[in-house]
Amino acid sequence: MNKLYQAKHELWLDILFASFAINDKQIKRDLYNFSTIEFRHMKWLGDKVLKDGDDYNYDRTKMLHKRESVFDILRYLIVELKKISALYGEDILNARMITDEDYMIHHIAALLDNRANDAQITAFNMARKYADKNLPQEQTDALTIFLFEESYKEYELILVYAYMQARTTNLTHFNVFQDLIDESHFHLQSFGEMMAKMGILALPRELHSMTYIVKDIEKFVIDGIAEEEGAKEMCKTLSDAIHDDELKRFFDFVNYQESYHIELMKKLL
């Protein structure tokens, strides 16, 4: 299978989860934007792999390293960004990826020049305390499970829809997949940020090919709609269980978004 594609997939996750782990708003925003560029690289690369008659999968070997400080994370990202360059070829897409990553390396290196950018990382401390809120234990437990369930699910949806989008020739389907991918990126970002706040940031587990190689799209959509209904129910249950206005409003907001996902998915039938 395509090694560069796997490395790109892992690099996207590295930068994305670094953005969740770091508390500084500016650095977080910059890294998140870089992660979206890496995701686009991944999409373009996937298209090229298929066009060349090859294939790719979603295998991963890297784990999420629990770094202690912002600088540890930034140094790690520079190493990983430099490492992938050894895999690039010489076409126009590769040239684009090289120039993007040269800029990222330069930008991250500049952050390392300012000691004020360094800080302790709290995203992995397992404290399970949501910011300044004092949620009772059972609400904290419910929120913990929800975040693990849904962060995995959003990651799964991004990859499954991307896999199908790369292989469809139907424009309506292509557009629906894009909408659903965009929505799941937002949800994954929201849940990843919440996990980091609670000190339980973790990489979603790897997808098995049985999950993303879809043989029967109709069954996939029907199961997917049932899953969205389940996610809506989970949001509602959580919203009812958590006695905090800000969190309640957030879960209601996500719940209503899931309703429209179902409408989007119906267009695939």
Partner: protein
């Protein structure tokens, strides 16, 4: 052996560790057996890969598109039987099955799916040892994950 077999009980640091970094998650290239437990109603599955040396389970890995209960049970069970022999693996299975009654209906179905996938991998190993040509052994679940919690 396996008298003190563990099942996930609420949210404790051990369960949290399994959630954050599930043990033995993934796949094995050229395994001795591959088994799948499939819930056809929801499309949820657990797949187990085992690598044996004689009767010793040298390595095993699992993957699932299921819920976190499934992940935690898969992680705990695989850590428990890895390195042991198949006979003891079956004993661990029996002990865990005995404990299923204490779980919620949903947890019971999820746990059962993990255990059935392990059984399927052993069946596939047996079939391959007997010279049969079977890519993986699939067991279809009788009960679905969509059981009502107030059942």
């Amino acid at each position: 052996m396996y008298e003190d077999v563990k099942m996930p009980e609420g949210m404790n640091p051990e369960v949290l560790e399994h959630l954050m970094a599930p043990k033995n998650y993934g796949k094995i290239e050229d395994p001795s057996g591959v088994g799948v437990a499939m819930d056809e109603q929801t499309g949820e599955y657990v797949i187990f890969y085992i690598q044996t040396d004689g009767e010793i389970i040298e390595d095993l890995k699992f993957a699932t598109n299921g819920c976190q209960d499934t992940v935690v049970v898969g992680s705990m069970f695989s850590a428990m039987v890895k390195g042991d022999n198949i006979q003891n693996g079956k004993k661990a299975l029996a002990k865990m099955e005995l404990k299923l009654g204490g779980l919620t209906p949903k947890q019971r179905v999820c746990t059962d799916m993990v255990l059935e996938a392990f059984v399927a991998s052993l069946i596939n190993r047996e079939h391959l040892l007997n010279g049969e040509n079977e890519e993986m052994h699939i067991i279809k679940m009788k009960e679905s994950c969509e059981v009502e919690e107030n059942e």
